[in-house]
Symmetry: C2
Subunit: 726 residues, 2 copies
C-alpha cells in the first residue's frame, strides 16, 4: 500500500477531471476509514457479515414459503376456494414487505466516505485500482434519492430485491417446462386451431390495443404535465406485450379442482401457455424495433416489418431448439438403453438436458421460455416412453415440486416487491386513493380489459364460423374474466427497470397482477356458476355428450385438422419408432426399400417388443406397447396440490370393429382417462371406477400385426391388448 | 444529466483528493464513451449481453455434468472402478478450464475509460453518483495484474469463477443433509465412541500437526526469501483445519459398491461426516482467535481458551439448532396430520424446513453445515415416520438427486477453477515440475499425510485399549490411505481468497484434492485387496462373525455405551411417541401420574395404532408399528449411483424368548437388512435372500403390551408382528 499523499498522481487526477465532462460522486459504504487500509481481518468480517445478511434474506423467503404451504394446506383442508395459494403467497409477501420497509432499521455502524470524481456514464463493470491492486465492482442498479434517506436501510431493501436474472435463469424454466410436460395433449390438439388463434393473433391484437390505449393515456398525461420522463410509443407497445401474457397457473388450478368443462380448460390452458411464449418474443421484438442510435421512437414501416421478421425468426428458432433438445434426450435415452438401470443418472440427465435447453436458447439469443416449453412437450411425447418406470415417477414429481416452489416463490416475491422496490413510479394522475391498492390499478385495468376483450370476442366470433362445436358466449365471458396476469408478466417487467418508462410499467404491472389474482382469481368460482359452466366433468366421458348450450355432438375426427392428422401419422410411423422403445420397429413401418436402413436404426428392444406382442401379455407390454400406444398415451398430469393424476387405460368392448377414424377418436379418449389418487390409502375416494376386468383377446398368431409396412396404423388396434396401467 | 463541466464541483473534487491518502484508478469497462450518456438502449443491450454471458456460463457447467453422467454410466456399465465419478468430473472440469483459459478469447469491442481518483480502501459496496443519480456497485473480488493482460478475457474467466457463496448457500447443504439423512444409524451408533474420538480429537490433532509442519515450511520459505506475503501461525492452523476435513463421498461410494466390512464403513463414514462439521467450526474458531485490531498473530493462551470456548459454543449451538428444526418439522407433520393427503405440500415443507435450518444457523452466526447434518439425522429419525409413504419416497429421491448434482458440480468446478482462478499462488520452492500437477502437491501432501497419521494411529491404539472388537492394523492403514479431501475442504478454502496466505492455501488445497481423489481414490480398490479387507459383506449377517484378524466375537451390547442406551430408552419412551405416529401412545409410556398431560399430547392416530396392534395385522402396522419400531427402523440409504437400498425386515424365529439386550441387538441387526434393488426388474440380482415366510404369532389379547408404563421396552418384543416391508 502506498501510504501518504503522492502529489503528482493527485495532480494527474485533477487534470483528468477537466477532461471528463460530468459529475461523479462516490459514497463508500463499509469502508473502515482507518489508515491500516485493506486490513485482512476487516475483509473477512465484511465477507461474513455479507454472508449472514444473504442467509437472513433467503431465510425470509423460505419462511414465507413455509407459511404459505401451511396455510394452503389449511385452505385445502377446509375447502376454501375464494383465495388461491398464489394470492395467499402474495399477501404474505406484502406483509413481510411492509415490515421490512417500515419496521426494520439496520443500525448505522459503518463510516461512509463520500468523495467526488467525474465520469460520463455508469458502466456495467467498474475496475477500481487501490494502489496497484485491482478490484472489480459490478453495477447493481440505481439507488433512489440518498438525501436524508438511510443508506443502510436502502442497502437492506436492495438486497432483498435481488437480481431479476434469478427469475429468468432459475425460477421461470421449471414453471414453463412443467406446463409443457403436463400438457393434456388430447384436448390441446383437439382445439389446436382455436388455441393458436387466441395465442398468436389474440396476443398481437391485445398488445396493440393496450399499447394504443396506453399511448392515449400517456399523451393525455404529457398534456396535463404529469409525466416525469420519456414514454414512447414503443414503450406502450412493450407494455401491451408484457401485459398480454395470461397466467397458466392460478385459474387452471381452480379449473382442475372443479373439473371444469374440458374444452374450456384446454382453450384456457393452451392459450395461456403459448401466450407466455408469444408475449416474451413479442416484447423482445419490440425491443429490436427500437432503433439503437436513434431516439426518434416514431412509427416506421420497415422497422415494423423487420420486427415481425425477428418475431417469426426467434419464435421458430426457439421452437426448433426446444424440440431438438427434446429429441436429443430421447435419442440418448434410446441409445443408452442400460441407463434404465440407474434411475438416478437417468433423472439427472433428463433434468440437466431440459434445463440446458433453456440456457442454450438464451445463449443463442433465442427465447429460452419458448424453447423449454416445446422441449417439455417433446420430452413428454418421446423421452418419457424411454425412461424406466422409476424415472418416470421421479421426473414427474421433481418437476411438480420445482414448479410448486418456483411459483409460490415468485408470487410471494411479488408481494414483497411492492414495498421493497425503490423506484416505483405510481403516477399521481391515476392514483385515486393509496388504499385500497387495487383501486389504483383500475384505469390500467381498463386498458388491459379492453385488450383482452379485443382478443377474445372477435376471435371467438371468427373461430365459431369454422368450428363445429361453437365456443359458447358463456365460455367467452369466462375466458375474458379469467385472463389473470402472473409470473411471466412480472418477470418480463422486472427484467429491466432502468428507465422511467420501465419503472412506471413495473409498478403498474405489479398492481395489475395483484388485482387480477385477487379479484379475478377469487371470483372465478362464482363466475363459473353464474355462467352455468359445467363442473365435475370426467374428462373421458364427454366425448359424446352435448356441451352446455346444447347444440353440438362432438367428435374428434371433425376437430382434428388435417395437418394434425398427417403429422400424427408421420409421427407414429417414423418418429416414435425412431426415438422411443414404445413404437413398432422401423422395419415394420418403413417401406420395404428402406429395409437395411431400418434394420440398423431399430433397437433390439423394439424387436423384443414385437416379440412380446405375440408371445406374452405381461406388464412389460403396457410399458412397451407398440402401435396401440397412441396419442394420449402418456399424461404427466398433476395439479398444484400434489394430487397425482395417473393414466388409466380401459379396454372397452365397443372398441372392437370400428373404423380407423373412430379408432383415433377412441384412442384419444382412452389415453387420458384419469384417476385421482390422493397419495395415501386412507383418503382414497371410494367413488373411483372399479378396475375393469379385462378379458384379453386371444393373442394373434398370424399374420404378425406389423408385417405389412403400408397397413393403416389404425386398422388393427387390437393387436396389442391395452391393460390398466394401475 | 448535467452535461459539460461544472468548475466549482471539479475544484471541490480536486480538493478532496488532497485530503484522502492513497491512489485510486478507475478502469471503466463497457462504457460507451459517447456524449449521450446513460442511453437507455445501451443499458438494455448491456443487460442482454450480460444475461447471454450468464446463460453461456451456466450452460458450460450443465454440459459438463451431462458429459459426466454419460461417462459415469459407461463406467458403471463396464464396471471400471479405478476412477470414481468425482475424479471424472474433475478431469472434465480441468479440460474445460484449459479451453476457457487458453482457447477462448473475447473480442475487445468496448472502450475502456481509465481515470484516477483516490480513496483509502476497497469497500464492499460502492455508491456512484452520476449527476444526481446513484448507482450501486458491489465488490466482486480482486483482479489479477491488468498490465498487458486482456481485460475482456479476465472478465470472462471471472464470470465463470462465480461467487463462493453459491457453494455455501446452495451446493453444500444438500450434500451434508443427505449424509445425515442416509446415515446408517445402527453401525454409526455401534461405533459411536470411536467415531467421536476420530472426528473430534483426531481432527484437532491433525489440524495442529499440519499447522505446525506448515509453519516450519513457511519459516523456511521466509528464510529463503520465497514468501511473497504474510503467512502467520494462525494461517497455518487454519490451513490445517480445512485440510483435515475428509470427504464422505468418493471412498464411501466405492465401499458401498464393494460392500466392504460394515465396521470399517461405519468408522469411515461417521468420521468423515462429523469431520466436516468439526473442521468448519474449528476453522471459524481460528478466525475468531485472530485478534481484530492486532496484527501480531502470535501465540496467546487466553485467546486460545477463548477460541476453544467459541468452538464448543458454536458446535453445540448449531447441533441444538439443527435438532430443534428437525423436531419442529416432526411436530408440524405430527400435528397437521391431514398434510399426508397432499404429498407435494408435505415434500415441499420438508425440503424448505431442512434448508431453512441451514440458513437460520448461518444467520445466527452458527455453522449451517453442522446444523443441517444433525437436522438430517433428526428428520430421518422422527419426521420420516410421520410422512406419507409417497412423501418418504419423494424426499429420499429428491435429496439423492440434489446430492448427486451438487457433488458432481463441485468436483467439476474444482477442475475448472485450477485454470480459471486468477490469483493462484503456487509457491516456486515447492513446485518441482509444472506437469504432472500431482507432483507439485507432494510436499504439502507430506504435511497432510503426517497429520492424518497422527490422527489415526495413536487414536486407534488408545481406542483399541477400550474396544472389544479391535480396529485392526489393516483397517487403520485403509483409514489412513482413504482419507480423501473433497468438497468441504474446497468450499472452505474458496470462501475467502482475499489475502496472499489464503490464495496460497486455496491453490495448495486444490492440488491436494486432485491428488487425493485421483491417486488415493483410484487406489482404494487395490488397497482393500492388498490389506485383505473383507468385501461383499451383507450388512446384517456380520453380527456374529469374526473380523478378518480373527479375534473377536462381536456383540452390540458391549459396544453400545451406556449413555447411548439411556438415551435410547428415553427416546423410545418419550420422544418417539411425542413426535411421531410410530411410537406407542404417551399414555402407555408415561407414568400414571402424568396421565392427563399424556392424554392431551397423544394423537388420535397413536391410539388407533394401539388399537391396530391388537385388532389387525394389516400393512398399516408396518408403517405405524408401535414399540417394535426401534432403532434401525428407517434407513434412507442410497449410493451415489442411484441403486436404491431399501429396508427389509425379517421376523426370525430365533428372536423368540431372548433377553432385552439381545432384543436390542437383534433389533439393530434387523433394522438394516438391506436389499439392493437395481431400479428395474431386468437386472435384479437373483442372489437375494428369498422373502422369509412369516408365521405370525397369535395376537396377544391380554394384557395389552403397553398397559404398564414402567415395563422394559425390550421385554416384550413380540407384541407387534414385524412384517417384511417389501
Amino acid at each position: 500500500l502506498i501510504m501518504g499523499l503522492k502529489p503528482n498522481s493527485a495532480l494527474k487526477a485533477s487534470k483528468t477531471l477537466f477532461v471528463l465532462p460530468s459529475l461523479f460522486t462516490f459514497l463508500l459504504v463499509g469502508s473502515q476509514g482507518e489508515n491500516t487500509a485493506m486490513d485482512n481481518v476487516a475483509t473477512e468480517r465484511r465477507a461474513e457479515e455479507s454472508h449472514r445478511q444473504d442467509s437472513a434474506n433467503l431465510l425470509i423467503f423460505i419462511m414465507l414459503l413455509t407459511l404459505t404451504i401451511l396455510t394452503i394446506w389449511l385452505f385445502k383442508h377446509r375447502r376454501f376456494r375464494f383465495l388461491h395459494e398464489t394470492g395467499l403467497a402474495m399477501i404474505y409477501g406484502l406483509l413481510v414487505g411492509v415490515i421490512l420497509r417500515f419496521g426494520v432499521h439496520v443500525p448505522r455502524n459503518m463510516n461512509n466516505v463520500t468523495m467526488n470524481c467525474s465520469v460520463n456514464a455508469s458502466p456495467a463493470t467498474l475496475l477500481v485500482n487501490v494502489s496497484g491492486r485491482f478490484y472489480e465492482y459490478t453495477l447493481k442498479g440505481e439507488v433512489s434519492t440518498v438525501k436524508g434517506h438511510d443508506v443502510q436501510d436502502d442497502e437492506m431493501l436492495r438486497k432483498v430485491t435481488f437480481d431479476p436474472e434469478v427469475f429468468f435463469n432459475i425460477l421461470l424454466p421449471p414453471i414453463i417446462f412443467h406446463a409443457g410436460y403436463s400438457l393434456k395433449r388430447r384436448h390441446f390438439f383437439r382445439n389446436l386451431g382455436s388455441i393458436l388463434a387466441y395465442a398468436f393473433m389474440g396476443t398481437v391484437i391485445s398488445s396493440f390495443v393496450i399499447g394504443l390505449v396506453m399511448y392515449g393515456c400517456v399523451t393525455l398525461m404529457k398534456a396535463v404535465g404529469q409525466l416525469g420522463g420519456d414514454f414512447f410509443f414503443t414503450d406502450c407497445l412493450f407494455f401491451g406485450a408484457i401485459v398480454s401474457a395470461t397466467d397458466p397457473v392460478t385459474v387452471l388450478a381452480i379449473f382442475n379442482e372443479l373439473k371444469v368443462d374440458v374444452d374450456l380448460y384446454a382453450l384456457m390452458f393452451g392459450e395461456s401457455v403459448l401466450n407466455d411464449a408469444v408475449a416474451i418474443v413479442l416484447s423482445s421484438s419490440i425491443g429490436a424495433y427500437q432503433p439503437a442510435g436513434d431516439n426518434s421512437h416514431t412509427f416506421d414501416a420497415t422497422a415494423m416489418i423487420k420486427s415481425f421478421g425477428v418475431f417469426l425468426g426467434v419464435f421458430s428458432g426457439s421452437l426448433a431448439l426446444g424440440v431438438a433438445t427434446g429429441v436429443m434426450t430421447a435419442l440418448i435415452s434410446f441409445c443408452f438403453t442400460k441407463l434404465r438401470d440407474f434411475p438416478l443418472l437417468e433423472t439427472a440427465l433428463f433434468f440437466l438436458m431440459s434445463w440446458s435447453t433453456f440456457l442454450l436458447a438464451e445463449a443463442c439469443e433465442m427465447t429460452g421460455v419458448v424453447a423449454v416449453l416445446f422441449c417439455g412437450m417433446t420430452q413428454a411425447h418421446y423421452t418419457f416412453n424411454n425412461l424406466s418406470p422409476d424415472s418416470q415417477d421421479r421426473t414427474k414429481q421433481l418437476f411438480e415440486l420445482l414448479n410448486f416452489l418456483a411459483e409460490n416463490f415468485i408470487f410471494s416475491y411479488m408481494g414483497l416487491t411492492l414495498f421493497s422496490f425503490q423506484s416505483h413510479v405510481f403516477n399521481p394522475l391515476f392514483i385515486i386513493g393509496a388504499f385500497p391498492l387495487s383501486l389504483t390499478a383500475v384505469p390500467y385495468q381498463i386498458a388491459v380489459f379492453l385488450g383482452r376483450a379485443a382478443n377474445i370476442y372477435p376471435l371467438s366470433f371468427l373461430l365459431n364460423l369454422g368450428r363445429k362445436n361453437k365456443i359458447g358466449s358463456n365460455f367467452q365471458h369466462v375466458m375474458m374474466f379469467a385472463g389473470l396476469r402472473g409470473a411471466m408478466t412480472f418477470a418480463l417487467s422486472i427484467r429491466d427497470t432502468a428507465t422511467y418508462a420501465r419503472q412506471m410499467m413495473f409498478s403498474t404491472t405489479l398492481l395489475i397482477v395483484f388485482f387480477t389474482v385477487w379479484v379475478c382469481g377469487g371470483g372465478t368460482t362464482p363466475m363459473l356458476s353464474f355462467m352455468s359452466i359445467r363442473v365435475g366433468v370426467d374428462s373421458d366421458q364427454d366425448s359424446s355428450v352435448t356441451v352446455s348450450d346444447g347444440t353440438q355432438h362432438r367428435n374428434t375426427k371433425h376437430e382434428s385438422a388435417w395437418p394434425f392428422r398427417i403429422w400424427y401419422n408421420f409421427d407414429n410411423t417414423y418418429l416414435k419408432p425412431l426415438l422411443t422403445h414404445s413404437g413398432p420397429p422401423l422395419t415394420a413401418t418403413l417401406p420395404a426399400c428402406c429395409g437395411p436402413l431400418a434394420r440398423c436404426l431399430t433397437s433390439t428392444q423394439a424387436y423384443e417388443n414385437e416379440g412380446h406382442q405375440h408371445n406374452d401379455d405381461s406388464d412389460e407390454l403396457v410399458l412397451n406397447d407398440g402401435n396401440a400406444t397412441m396419442y394420449g398415451d402418456v399424461t404427466v398430469s398433476t395439479d398444484a396440490s400434489g394430487t397425482l393424476t395417473t393414466n388409466h387405460k380401459h379396454l372397452s368392448a365397443s372398441t372392437m370393429g370400428i373404423t380407423s377414424e373412430e379408432a383415433l377418436d377412441q384412442e384419444l379418449a382412452f389415453g387420458e382417462h384419469e384417476l385421482v389418487i390422493r397419495g395415501t390409502r386412507l383418503v382414497l375416494p371410494m367413488d373411483d371406477p372399479p378396475e375393469p376386468t379385462v378379458t384379453l383377446p386371444p393373442p394373434p398368431t398370424s399374420p404378425p400385426p406389423f408385417s405389412d409396412p403400408f397397413s393403416d396404423p389404425f386398422s388393427d388396434p387390437f393387436s396389442d391388448p391395452r391393460r390398466n396401467r394401475l
